[in-house]
């Protein structure tokens, strides 16, 4: 029996994270002490079984693009713009289950769909894209239109079209062909309609009874396929994965494991890893990041773009290519650099290319005694978490707590005054530390600043655009502080403190599982199990991704609304 569902998750979400909500007056050193010690014994699978509600998630702009390029090739231009995403509990992936499409958004999707469809059927591409030719290019052709729409629809919808769906699209193509006296124009109109369909734009899920858990439900094969592919590749399922769903192989743990192994071994895993970190690091905020060009003239749009890419390359190189320890992203001296970034880092980067050429990436390793090391000291982190005209220990400390340690920092009171903090020319309080100390005299402010400023101040050697400095207004910058009881004097030592903090790895487990499922993960037993497995695998990210992807919880669903639409859900026979 197949039940076709499209229900979003509820809006009321309880946030559960590694550190939970920070109490600003608390002694944070106790949190580290209270963190669960690593357990070595594996927890039985049934003990961690935790079905969830079905979700319906809107494709992100990147996912939309990836699917289009998978189906039609990378030369297809999308045009248009995507609807704004919604960040929920730190992740856009979680918010993707809470968003809809506005009227203006529908226009944009329609515009993109028409543009894509017209490129697919244009004379340059049609022979390669469509794989069949109409008997008469000036007339409708059921067979060719049906063949194209069935094949394309299977990938766009991540499942075979139903007979009714296929017939509707063939009819649309035929009507269009007759009215325009062009088979290809008709096909383009029908394909455009398919690309504008909610069945493409939203990831709907379908459930089936779970034989491994009596009375329980799980995603069906096709829903499993898309769950896996968007998690591991940030794109729709490929033909092999859809074939595995169709053949029933994804109905078994063995079949799922085989596909997961194949997908993790694929170079496309990098795309999935990048997508996770782009989301987790909040790099979408770069789209609205601005810097005062008088104060930070080197911070160009290219520098902002390269800064994100630098951090992503650092992470991917360490975690994927070198199968490294996740914690080392906070201490590694190895990174990549362009000429644009070289000017900010004050590193010579020779590029033997003609003037005007795009920058090339070069591997670079900071010397051992260099103050930079780890992603916290990179331009992406320091610049992103700074206002336009200065650095901000508070914003950086807050970001570190919330993004990397999963500890929620309460928002400041509405009536708080920031004038001293923002006055970077203050003759009395020359450094940010001085200004924050003066600001924190107010007991309303002191509690939170106590837990976020010490870690943010460690990054004060990096200005609002990420450039290195040792003084502010002529006064020497003091970068000492502490994180959950661990003291440090430099940014490098802060990186080591984050590396060694147990919340660092547990936060990643929380975030990655929430990202995978599209909702906050509340199943403590499962999370604990994943944490132990992550540790056992030396904190290798692909291993954690594998553990999540093969877990029953990744596919288990809590309840099912049955629709009497089974007949319509019978897969159409199609040409692929």
């Amino acid at each position: 029996m197949r039940s076709f569902l499209s229900r979003t998750t509820g809006l009321a979400i309880v946030f559960v994270a590694a550190g939970g909500l920070l109490a600003c007056s608390a002694d944070t050193s106790k949190q580290a002490a209270s963190a669960p010690a690593a357990k070595t014994a594996a927890i039985a699978k049934d003990a961690v079984y935790a079905p969830r509600q079905l979700t319906m998630r809107r494709l992100s702009g990147e996912q939309y693009q990836n699917v289009i390029h998978d189906v039609f090739g990378p030369t297809i231009e999308l045009g248009g713009r995507f609807e704004p995403d919604l960040r929920v509990n730190g992740l856009l992936a979680v918010g993707s289950g809470d968003v809809s499409i506005t009227a203006a958004g529908i226009e944009q999707y329609d515009s993109m769909a028409r543009r894509i469809a017209s490129q697919v059927v244009d004379e340059k591409r049609r022979d390669m894209m469509l794989r069949c030719k109409p008997a008469d290019v000036n007339a409708a052709d059921d067979a060719c239109a049906g063949q194209v729409m069935a094949r394309v629809g299977r990938i766009l919808y991540r499942r075979p079209l139903t007979q009714a769906e296929l017939q509707a699209y063939v009819t649309a193509a035929n009507v269009g062909a007759v009215k325009t006296k062009s088979f290809y124009t008709g096909l383009s109109l029908s394909l455009g309609a398919m690309l504008s369909s909610p069945k493409f734009l939203f990831r709907t899920e379908t459930a089936e009874p779970d034989p491994d858990h009596a009375g329980g439900w799980r995603l069906d094969g096709y829903s499993k396929a898309q769950q896996l592919s968007f998690f591991l590749w940030n794109s729709g399922p490929d033909q092999l994965l859809l074939d595995a769903a169709e053949s029933g192989k994804l109905s078994t743990r063995k079949g799922v494991a085989e596909q997961v192994e194949r997908m993790i071994a694929s170079p496309r895993l990098e795309e999935g890893v990048r997508a996770f970190f782009i989301d987790n690091f909040g790099f979408d905020q770069f789209e609205t990041l601005s810097k005062d060009t008088t104060l930070f003239p080197k911070f160009s749009a290219a520098a902002a773009s390269d800064a994100q890419e630098q951090t992503l390359r650092t992470v991917v190189d360490l975690l994927i290519k070198n199968k490294g320890d996740y914690r080392d992203i906070f201490t590694t001296k190895k990174t990549f650099i362009t000429q644009e970034l070289g000017a900010i880092y004050r590193i010579p980067v020779v590029d033997a290319l003609p003037n005007g050429s795009p920058d090339t990436w070069q591997a670079y390793e900071f010397p051992a005694d260099d103050p930079r090391g780890g992603i916290l000291t990179q331009v992406a982190f320091t610049a992103l978490h700074s206002p336009p005209g200065r650095g901000s220990p508070t914003l950086r400390g807050k970001a570190l707590r919330e993004v990397l340690l999963c500890q929620k920092v309460p928002a400041p009171p509405a009536n708080v005054k920031f004038d001293i903090v923002q006055d970077t020319n203050n003759p009395l309080y020359k450094t940010a530390r001085d200004r924050l100390n003066a600001h924190a005299i107010n007991p309303v402010c002191a509690g939170c600043h106590k837990i976020i400023d010490p870690i943010g101040l460690a990054l004060e050697n990096f200005d609002g655009a990420g450039a290195y400095r040792t003084t502010e207004q002529g006064a020497k910058i003091d970068t000492s502080g502490s994180l959950d009881g661990t003291t440090f004097t430099t940014a490098a030592e802060l990186g080591k403190a984050v590396h060694d903090n147990p919340n660092t790895t547990s936060c990643l487990v929380n975030r990655l599982s929430a990202y995978a499922l599209g909702r906050p993960v509340q199943e403590a037993a499962w999370i604990d199990d994943l944490k132990q497995r992550f540790a056992a695998h030396g904190y290798q990210l692909p291993a954690l991704m594998r553990e999540i992807a093969v877990s029953d919880n990744f596919f288990a669903v809590k309840s099912v609304e049955t629709k009497a639409a089974d007949a319509a859900a019978v897969p159409a026979k199609e040409a692929r």
């Binding site: 033997a352 070069q362 591997a363």
Partner: protein, 383 residues
């Protein structure tokens, strides 16, 4: 640490470079400290002051200059008034046709820009003030007839006749900080259309007095700019190995000022829009490092003034109207004030003493070498 990499020996890198790029390789025995700078501003060293053009102030603007040109051609005041009125009403074709052919060769109209000697010398004013940046190029010191006093060094007998010749044109007036219109326009053309100019200073310790070597080269890259259009510090360039733009001088640092003791020729290829090349004979140099790592410099010498003139003239009436002012008038001024290289037959000097002002930002630079294999690199220079 960063400080030692910026100002220290050529040993600061450990870059791993991908294919198609030059490596930042280690260095052979060299000076203990090398700093490289990219020129981010270049203009005639200008020191306009009140009353430095004598009674009546500087020369008039181009519209008045044009009316004088028409009068010099024999047009009556009424005819000139009518031509100007038409031009102001958007029908300037007739007046501009006359002006762009105001030269006379065998009685026929010709371009005064191409043939400036065929135009009437308008006898525009030159600087009568006593101060100008520059050097004692002729070695006569205070004995120099009509020499300037340098406002910075207080040296007397300074030769800078180019500044004298041009300094009363409105477009040429300004100061080191208040950039003259023409030079701002010219630099705007140059900086984005020609390879950057690099200055490299080698010495044992550039924070102390002692001997140095100063070189000027072109880069293979254009000047790199910041978001606000200012020259970008800490960017990386490659030296152009073309010897035509390589200039090297022995010199010294004394009391924080870099000067050169070898006063040979200076030659850099340049964008033809301004001048095909920039040449100075008897080059003199004075540079200062600034606390922010940048430098300012004055470079002077005797310059062929015809190169300069045709740089001014290359834009024709468009540039004349919008930037320079009366272009043939500049010809006559430079011809009059030229003070070196007399023609053996006519006695007309072919060169004119000049001093230019430079601002430069610290950069990295590398000597590229032909890769032996992919990824093999070059010799990176310090800064």
């Amino acid at each position: 640490m960063f400080g030692s990499r910026i100002t220290g020996a050529r040993t600061y890198l450990s870059a791993v470079v991908g294919a198609c790029a030059l490596t930042m390789a280690s260095f052979g025995p060299a000076a203990a400290e090398t700093r490289t700078f990219a020129v981010g501003w270049f203009s005639l060293a200008t020191n306009s002051t009140e009353n430095d053009c004598g009674p009546g102030g500087p020369n008039p603007g181009v519209q008045i200059q044009y009316q004088k040109s028409l009068a010099d051609l024999g047009y009556t005041p009424k005819q000139i008034e009518e031509l100007v009125k038409k031009a102001q009403g958007g029908e300037g074709g007739e007046m501009f046709d006359i002006l762009r052919n105001r030269g006379r060769m065998d009685g026929k109209p010709v371009s005064p820009y191409i043939y400036p000697a065929t135009s009437v010398d308008p006898k525009w004013k030159a600087i009568t003030g006593k101060q100008a940046y520059g050097f004692n190029l002729d070695g006569k010191g205070e004995a120099t007839k009509n020499g300037f006093e340098d406002p910075e060094t207080r040296e007397k007998g300074v030769n800078n006749e180019l500044y004298r010749a041009l300094g009363c044109y409105i477009s040429m007036r300004g100061s080191l900080e208040g950039r003259p219109t023409y030079w701002a326009w010219a630099w705007g053309q140059l900086k984005d259309s020609q390879p950057a100019w690099l200055i490299t200073v080698d010495g044992a310790d550039l924070t102390k007095d002692g001997p140095v070597t100063v070189t000027f080269d072109r880069a293979l890259e254009h000047l790199k700019s910041n978001v606000d259009g200012s020259p970008r510090a800490d960017a990386t360039y490659r030296y152009d190995s073309d010897p035509r733009s390589h200039n090297s001088y022995k010199g010294e640092i004394k009391n924080g000022v870099v000067t050169i003791s070898e006063h040979g020729d200076f030659r850099m290829l340049q964008n033809p829009l301004v001048a095909p090349e920039f040449k100075l004979a008897k080059a003199h140099l004075r540079m200062k490092f600034k606390p922010d790592g940048s430098l300012t410099a004055f470079i002077g010498g005797y310059q062929p003034w015809s190169d300069l003139y045709f740089g001014f003239a290359s834009g024709g009436i468009g540039i004349e109207q919008c930037v320079t002012g009366d272009i043939p008038g500049l010809y006559w001024l430079m011809r009059k004030h030229a003070d070196a290289d007399p023609d053996p037959k006519t006695g007309q000097n072919a060169s004119i003493s000049a001093t230019y002002y430079i601002e430069a930002v610290p950069v990295f630079a590398a000597h590229p070498v032909a890769p032996k294999v992919a990824g093999d690199g070059g010799d990176a220079g310090g800064r």
